[in-house]
Amino acid sequence: MRGVIRRNPRLLIGGVIVLVLLFVALAAPLISPYDPIKVDVSQNLEPPSLAHPLGTDDLGRDVLSRVIWGSRISLSVGVISVGIGFFVGVSLGLAAGYLGGLVDLLAMRAIDALLAFPALVLAISITAALGPQIQNAMIAIGIVAIPAYTRLTRGQVLSMREREFVVAARTIGATPLRVVMRHIFPNITNPLVVQATLGTAGAILAEAALSFLGLGAQPPDPSWGQDINYNARYLSNLMWWMSLGPGTAIFLAVFAFNFLGDALRDALDPRLRRAA
């Protein structure tokens, strides 16, 4: 492990930032200096100070506290939508790749149809159709992520299914489900882990965009994307601090997962590097 990290310092940097983010999200009630939704108009629109390191917004809410609590929304969207995309996408990919034939044909046409939409356009339409709520944004982002996992899994399964150990398992009478779950899946997890890490970065970015457009988290919940949109109205007064906090938070979170994903790609499978 030590050797891996020394050869790959990015793994350490990305990993540490991700761990810090996780800590912030989990410990939000403990480390947040103020209640993120408590209105205090007497303290509104204050520039950064010792009492409010990132300033306050027009309702006197502490920007730092909102950024800290906002990490909960961003990270849970990351985890849940990647979970949806991973579970559905990988299952489809395993079935399509291993069973082939009609299953493969139908599954891949459905994937093609999903891929026919530009990603954000699809996420926006699904969220708009289900109703603007953070849960629906998670579902939408998860659906948009499905094709990447399906294609990746299917390709890996195709390269595995005629390998000797798989044929051997089939020969001794293992059921297709057992062959896929016990023999193929454990051998293809590396690229999937890389994809899931990079996918988390994409999901956080997508949630921020949806919330920015008013389709994700709803006020007064603290969400980075939504807060940027809400506070943008004070930009013309050069009140920059309200946008700085959430914007930097999005950047850091997306950056950390991208960085970690790239590092994992190099560490887990050097051959994948060129496919990037």
Binding site: R109, A128, A129, F212, G247, R274
Partner: protein, 318 residues
């Protein structure tokens, strides 16, 4: 080749059909009764039923779908619920503005990516290379609405070099039009620029170490001829794919960028229509962006097969 193109076109038909089903279903899933929006102040149940009947909304879903598809194929995408303007007209009116913004952004992105990406690959580990790599990392992680806001704050509000947003007609005020174009175009270009620069750099690095370049140098070709005529010619084939896909997905970035900069294009129309529950408009924009994305993907594949003779296009794995 002709056979390959025909095959791909044929394969597109079922996918395009599925796309229309998805678009139709999504819109019908949407909360809120479109008749209520359409009827304005009218709340008399009988009048509402009449309206529902008039627009075929009392028919079963599959029937509605077929009717909608029939009209859509003929270019009739209905009327906007808010302005009563034909949807197609509303979109084509704004399309040139989106193309102006998107085209400029792509042009910036491709030019800078080619120049800086090539320079970075040729001077590996130089200061420029480090800068390019750093920019790439930052560029893909920076949400474009945040970048847009930073640019507005810096260049429009603090330094007052460019206007913070809005649109001016090119025909009557060409200079103002260009001034308003700069910030949104740079914003829209940045994310794709990061991806493109990385691709140009890594594709070139891949070919730079290959034997045929040594041969080219050995036969006495100048460095310029080696790089431009030999390395770039092969190395940039994968780059074409990325560029092409970005052209197809231009609306994706334009939605956010147009919203921040009050640029009255198709992206902004989409956002306004979603918040105004103007379903026919949303439906048409989503459908058109999906179809144009499909066509550009196909164009990229064909171009790719044509550019790179190593790709066999007779039997393509799907």
């Amino acid at each position: 080749m002709t056979q390959y193109i025909l095959r791909r076109l044929l394969l597109m038909v079922p996918v395009a059909f599925l796309v229309t089903v998805i678009v139709f279903t999504l819109i019908r899933l949407s909360p809120g009764d479109p008749v209520l929006v359409f009827a304005g102040e009218e709340r008399d149940p009988e009048a509402l039923d009449a309206l529902r009947h008039q627009y075929g909304l009392d028919q079963p879903m599959p029937v509605q779908f077929v009717v909608w598809l029939e009209h859509a194929v003929q270019g009739d995408l209905g009327r906007s619920l808010r302005t009563r303007q034909p949807v197609l007209e509303a979109i084509t009116e704004r399309l040139p503005k989106t193309i102006e913004l998107g085209g400029t952004a792509i042009l910036i992105s491709i030019t800078v990516a080619l120049v800086v990406g090539t320079a970075a690959a040729l001077n590996r580990n130089s200061a420029l290379d480090l800068f390019a790599t750093g920019f790439t990392l930052a560029g893909v992680s920076l949400p474009n609405f945040y970048l847009g806001i930073i640019l507005i704050l810096l260049f429009a509000l603090a330094l007052r070099i460019f206007p913070p947003g809005g649109y001016a007609d090119f025909a009557s005020e060409p200079f103002d039009n260009l001034k308003r174009l700069v910030l949104p175009a740079v914003t829209l270009a940045t994310a794709s620029l990061a991806v493109n620069m990385r691709q140009v750099r890594s594709s070139l690095l891949d070919v730079l170490s290959q034997e045929y370049l040594r041969t080219a140098r050995a036969k006495g070709l100048g460095e310029r001829a080696v790089i431009v005529g030999h390395a770039m010619k092969n190395g940039l084939i994968p780059v074409v794919t990325i560029f092409g896909l970005q052209v197809g997905a231009i609306l994706d970035g334009a939605i956010i960028t147009e919203t921040i900069f009050f640029w009255p294009g198709v992206g902004r129309l989409a956002v306004d229509s979603i918040s105004g529950r103007d379903y026919p408009v949303v439906q048409a924009i989503v459908l058109m962006s999906a179809l144009s994305f499909m066509v550009s993907t196909l164009a990229v594949d064909i171009l790719y097969a044509w550019l790179d003779p190593r790709i066999s296009y007779t039997r393509r794995a799907t």
